[in-house]
Amino acid sequence: MTKIHVKTNINGDKVEFLADPRETLLDCLRDHIGLTGSKEGCGTGDCGACSCIFDGDLVSSCLVLGVEAEGKSIETIEGMAGEKELHPLQKKFIEMAALQCGFCTPGILIAAKALLDRNNDPTESEVRYWLAGNLCRCTGYDKIIKAVMETARDIRETA
C-alpha cells in the first residue's frame, strides 16, 4: 500500500507524517505522531472521545482521514493547557471532580472549549445538547455540566 506524505499543523507545530489512506486522523495522531490524548471509544463517531478541532470545527477525528489533514490546522487536547497553566476548563474539572475514569475527559474538554469559544454564556440546555455527542459512562454527566457552566461564569466575570 502506497503511503501518502501529509504536511499539517498540530497545536501550532508543523508536523509531517506518512499515512496509509485508510487510516483515520485519530490513528495518525496516536500511532504516527504519538499524541495519545485523543481516545478511541467507538471508532464510528458516536462517543466523542476522539474530539479535535479541525480547521476551526469540532470533529470526531475517527471520522476524518489522516490524509485530509494536508494543509490544515488541528488542535488536540495536548495543546489545550498553556505553558505554565492549565486551561480554566481543565482546572475546574479537577476542582469539581467532573471525571472518574477519565477516558472521555479529553474529548469532553475539547468539545466544551469549542462551545465556550463561541458562546461564553450558554444555558444548561445548550451545554447538554452541545455535549450530547460525548458519552461518559461514569459521572452521570451532572458534574461535567456544572463544571462547564461554572467555567463559563468565571470567564464572563474575568472578561
Binding site: 502506497t2 501518502i4 489512506p21 485508510r22 483515520t24 471508532g43 464510528t44 463517531g45 458516536d46 466523542g48 474530539s51 479541525f54 470545527d57 469540532l58 470533529v59 470526531s60 475517527c62 471520522l63 476524518v64 482521514l65 490524509v67 485530509e68 494536508e70 468539545a111 469549542a114 462551545l115 445538547y129 452541545w130 450530547a132 455527542g133 460525548n134
Partner: protein, 287 residues
C-alpha cells in the same frame, strides 16, 4: 484503497470513470468512513470532493433561490441566518442529524446519497421542491430530490454520477415549512417516524401543500392524498384529524427494534399533524 483529491468536478467524474473496483465519493465522511471502518463498503478508490472550489458555499442565485454546495455542513446551514429564516423546516431536519461533531462535517447531499428511509434532512428537501445538479460523463442534469431515493440504502444515481449541489427554489411570502420526528430520547437517535410539510397560503387559506413521510416505508413517501386534503382549508381541527388519519393510512412501515408497525402508523399521524400546524404558523408569519 487509493485516495484522490481532485480540484474540479469534471476531474472527479473522470477519475471515477477511469477507475476499476468500488469507487466512492467523499464529502463529510460521516457515513462513508463508518462503512469503511465496519467493513460493509470497502472502496478501492475514494474521491474527496472537498478541495473543489465552491463546494462549501451557500449562494443566492439571480432567480432568488439558493444553491447549496455538495460539501456544505449541517453547521453551516444552521449558521446561515437568511437560509434558516426562509427554510426553517429544511434546516431543522439537517440539524437533527447527529452531534455537534457530526454537524461540522455531515452534508445534505451525503444524507441523501446514503439512502436511508429515516434520513432526517430528505423529507424537508423534497417538500421544498429542491433539485440536485448531477454531473456525469455526458454533462450536467437537474433532477428532483424526490427522484433520488430508490430503496433502503440505494439511490437512482448511476455509477460515476456526482451530485455537485442542491438547488432550492425562491421562497415567497406566506409560505412555511416544518420537519418533526419521533425518537424515544431527546438527542442523538434515528427517526422512528418523521414528517415534513411545506405550505403556501393566500389570506390564511392553504393554496398548495406538500407532505413527505420518513421512516415509514422502504423509502420516503410523498403523501399526495394527505396533502390534498389540506388545500382550500385554514387547517381547523376537523381537517387536522382527517389529515392525521390519512397519513397513518398511507404509511407502510415495518416493525423493527425502533418501533412496531402499529406504533409507527399511529405516531406518524400525530407527528404529521403537529408538523402541519407548525408549517402553517410559520407561513402566516412569513411576510
Amino acid at each position: 484503497m487509493q485516495y484522490h483529491s481532485p480540484s474540479s468536478f469534471n476531474e472527479a467524474v473522470a477519475i471515477s470513470n477511469s477507475s476499476s473496483g468500488l469507487v466512492k465519493y467523499l464529502a463529510g465522511g460521516t457515513d462513508v468512513l463508518v462503512q469503511l471502518k465496519i467493513g460493509t463498503k470497502s472502496p478501492d478508490h475514494l474521491i474527496d470532493i472537498k478541495n473543489i472550489p465552491g463546494v462549501r458555499e451557500i449562494s443566492l442565485r439571480d432567480d432568488g433561490g439558493y444553491t447549496i454546495g455538495a460539501a456544505v455542513s449541517g453547521a453551516q446551514l444552521t449558521e446561515h441566518k437568511e437560509l434558516s429564516k426562509k427554510w426553517p423546516g429544511l434546516v431543522e431536519g439537517m440539524e437533527l442529524v447527529g452531534s455537534a461533531q457530526i454537524q461540522s462535517r455531515a452534508t445534505l447531499v451525503g444524507n441523501l446519497c446514503n439512502g436511508s428511509p429515516a434520513a432526517d434532512s430528505v423529507p424537508g428537501m423534497i417538500v421544498a421542491g429542491a433539485s440536485v445538479s448531477i454531473l456525469n460523463s455526458s454533462g450536467t442534469k437537474d433532477v428532483l430530490v424526490e427522484d433520488i431515493p430508490s430503496g433502503p440504502g440505494s439511490t437512482s444515481l448511476e455509477n460515476g454520477e456526482l451530485i455537485t449541489a442542491i438547488n432550492l427554489p425562491k421562497r415567497n411570502d406566506y409560505e412555511g415549512d416544518a420537519y418533526l420526528r419521533f425518537i424515544p430520547r431527546t438527542e442523538m437517535d434515528i427517526a422512528v417516524v418523521g414528517c415534513a410539510v411545506n405550505l403556501s397560503l393566500e389570506k390564511g387559506v392553504i393554496t398548495s401543500a406538500k407532505v413527505v413521510l420518513g421512516a415509514v416505508g422502504p423509502k420516503v413517501i410523498l403523501a399526495h392524498s394527505a396533502a390534498d386534503c389540506l388545500v382550500g382549508t385554514k387547517l381547523d381541527d376537523n381537517i387536522l384529524s382527517r389529515f392525521s388519519a390519512k397519513c397513518s393510512q398511507i404509511a407502510k412501515p415495518i416493525s423493527d427494534k425502533r418501533g412496531s408497525e402499529e406504533f409507527r402508523k399511529d405516531i406518524i399521524g400525530v407527528i404529521a399533524q403537529r408538523a402541519a400546524k407548525k408549517a402553517y404558523d410559520r407561513a402566516l408569519g412569513n411576510n
